[in-house]
Symmetry: C3
Subunit: 342 residues, 3 copies
């Protein structure tokens, strides 16, 4: 592919020789002959001096580099477009129903089903077109999926889970498991049957070994375009708005509602029954104990507005010194008081 | 079902027309014609004004609502009883041994075994009556279960795990995996074979994608009635007492003993080799670094008695202000000292 | 086995009758006739008085015990050697390829393959000698393993994962799943295909239900001898040096590099794109937000040098008292200022 074609692909502005041939994409550090590279994180800017890349995707600005350059507003998005052009987004397997899959008689397949070995599909399931189910998946009765869905190996969907178009679920994730609901009476916990559903809307991606519990009543829902990393816990009746991103090992407790365009770092914990607004950012490991308005940015434990958190942390660093200063002041005042008595 | 029958079922006191027909259970917000609803969390009290429920389960007190009401001491328990009456506690599948299961010759089944496709059951396994094993489970050699056990899809039991009556284990959980035990010598870690067991007593429920490691020697044991949420890590030789509840993503390190009726929030971490008493509460994300006496309530990192934690947090909020006040005092004292010198 | 032979096995010095027969190994608390026990954790020293063990492995020193004793520099290592002598390090199953496994035509096996039921092995896979794959594992196309590898049930390897000799992976772990990489453009997240690899070097052990993501480009690599506990998240392009140990539920974000001989407690979180030096220790639940030099020891959130963390925590405990003292000083100074005015 010529560099000029790449510039078109990423809607960027070419500076330099657009005729050179590009054969691959690589990070700055390892790029070589024929590779196009990119700068998305300023942390790696110093690598621009040493990279052997044949061409570079760079944000707007003047760049003292020798290679031809494609300037784009969002080089990381350019990189995504290039990667999507050169590589497939999901893995594929043979578009057949493997004879060693166990499929209930009344399952409805769309066009081109690809069902791997040792998959179990229960009664009443309806799959859309071009659905790929890797080996070992379990799809409980009455589940539904849209088109172009990919379930990697060993995804487990309990009964009546509903999945939209282009959803990707990675290996080992469990959707529709019972929510954690018990009523205590005289020191004994009594299980509350969890009979609600899980709904995963279009274009959602769910990482590996996640757990998304079915609702007690009603539904647990992840709205379209939202992306979950690995080992995430989504409790019963949680709602997560559109186009949110949630990093690994985060947990959201029961009935909490998260708005759209949320960004949660890793290992965030959010208590139940609260409301997180739109465009909210939670720093990694934040422990969120109360509702957050739109566009809030919180961090720390308990989670506080990020600026307040930073101020407290900066002051906390001085705590041992503050103790000493306080003690010195007390001594001085005692002396002053004595002098004044005299 | 008539409302009066429901009042009997939950041992509540009927106020109003017991003759109305109840056909379902729903949360206050979505309840409609024929639904009974309930108030368990005061947070939702305002919904009493707008709910379309036909009848309500309410705690003792005067309630300005128009619907017939069932007063019960513990409406959440009433709700549990109703849900158990109308719905099944666990999912069922055909009470057969699926021909595509791999079962060792000497496995002993109780009455009504229900074994799904692609299940593997190893030599020496003994299952009780009415055991349901969903597709893809792995039951290693010499495991034993009691009666009325449900293993959802892809539960993995390594060898010699012992499980009591009415235990429910959700999809993807691993019991009996090796404890994390290595001896370091000259910078290299040497594995300590983990040859102990895992014992899960009666009425325990274990969420999805949990890990409960086998003991190095002896046993890891979860006592009866205890409920674990998803993605929980229970290390080797841990003991958890009866009727405890542990929320998602909590981790308990090796050889720690937890008493009965413990309540742990989500993402709690507990170090190894300590003792947590009976009726102990750990707030979400608490980092427990030392033993806790009976009825202790801790939170924070490091975990402290909850009241102390709250006071420290309240004071921490004032830290930046304290720094300024301290600085101002130092200036004033310097001035006073100067005046006194004069 | 005679005690004198055990002394040889652990390279220890015998004190007392080496002729007694040892038939087992047990903890101090439960050891009985014929058992050798050991003291590795000083926390259990008081049990030396009451233990019924027939002989003891003890560190250097004088020990007022009646039993014969083997003195060794590192009794825990001695214990490991004994356990390895008496017990197998990994479980075994029949050294056959189970007829209910699905294996691509071109898979290359080494000597003595042991492949369980319902295992899927994709095209282009090459396994070394003495590889044991328990039931339900999924090995994607073009994966490679060295010799003497053990994959417990339901391990999932996506395509092109490379595994060294003597690697042990516990049940439910996912290697080679897509890294969490999306480019946001106009409020929508666009997936960046993750086409790099995962490489696990010799003697690595990985716990249950872990997730080790494939690199975006290049590789995610765990160097030899490193041990991971359960439920750990290793993001794309992370590198972990040799002989490190990482406790359960820890998460390491994308592109971070960890040196050799790291020791991380449980539930540690480490942000992306930083460098953790060699011999670094992170206390449990530490939230690491910046690079750490060699031999650093950090804890807390945000993670700070451990001694500094302890000082701050000690001072934080006094915060409510400091507030009171500050208030009292302000009052006194106001009085003094008034006196001086007069």
């Amino acid at each position: 592919m010529k560099l000029s074609e790449i510039a078109d692909l990423v809607s960027g502005t070419l500076r330099g020789d657009g005729g050179i041939e590009i054969s691959g994409i690589a990070p700055l550090e390892t790029a070589g002959d024929g590779d196009v590279s990119f700068l998305a994180n300023p942390r790696y800017q110093s690598q621009l001096k040493t990279t052997q890349a044949a061409a570079l995707l760079l944000p707007e600005g003047e760049w003292p580099v020798e290679q031809p350059v494609i300037i784009c507003k969002n080089p990381y998005f350019g990189f995504a477009l290039l990667m999507q052009h050169f590589h497939q987004i999901v893995q594929k397997q043979a578009a057949v129903i493997h004879p060693a899959a166990q499929i209930a008689d009344d399952v409805q397949f769309g066009a081109n089903p690809s069902i791997g070995a040792f998959v179990v599909i229960g009664s009443g399931v309806r799959l859309g077109d071009n659905v790929t189910v890797f080996p070992g998946c379990y799809i409980g009765k009455n589940c539904k999926t849209g088109n172009d869905v990919t379930l990697y190996s060993h995804v487990m969907l309990r009964e009546e889970v509903e999945i939209g178009d282009r959803v990707i679920i990675h290996s080992g994730s469990v959707l529709g498991s019972d929510g954690f609901g018990f009523a205590q009476e005289k020191g004994v916990y009594h299980k509350i049957p969890q009979i609600g559903r899980v709904v995963i809307e279009d274009d959602v991606e769910i990482g590996a070994n996640c757990c998304i519990d079915r609702a007690t009543l009603g539904e647990t829902r992840i709205h379209r375009g939202t992306k979950l990393d690995n080992l995430i816990q989504i409790a019963h009746n949680v709602k997560i708005g559109e186009h949110s991103v949630i990093a690994g090992q985060t947990g959201i407790s029961g009935s909490t509602q998260v708005g759209h365009h949320a960004m949660f770092g890793g290992q965030v914990g959010i208590i139940g029954h609260i409301t997180i607004g739109d465009y909210v950012i939670c720093g990694a490991q934040a422990g969120v104990t109360k509702s957050i308005p739109d566009k809030g940015f919180v961090s720390g434990y308990p989670a506080r507005p990020h600026k307040e958190h930073l101020k407290i942390e900066a002051a906390a660093k001085k705590l041992p010194e503050m103790l000493r200063r306080l003690h010195r002041l007390e001594e001085k005042i005692a002396r002053l008081e004595k002098q004044n008595e005299v």
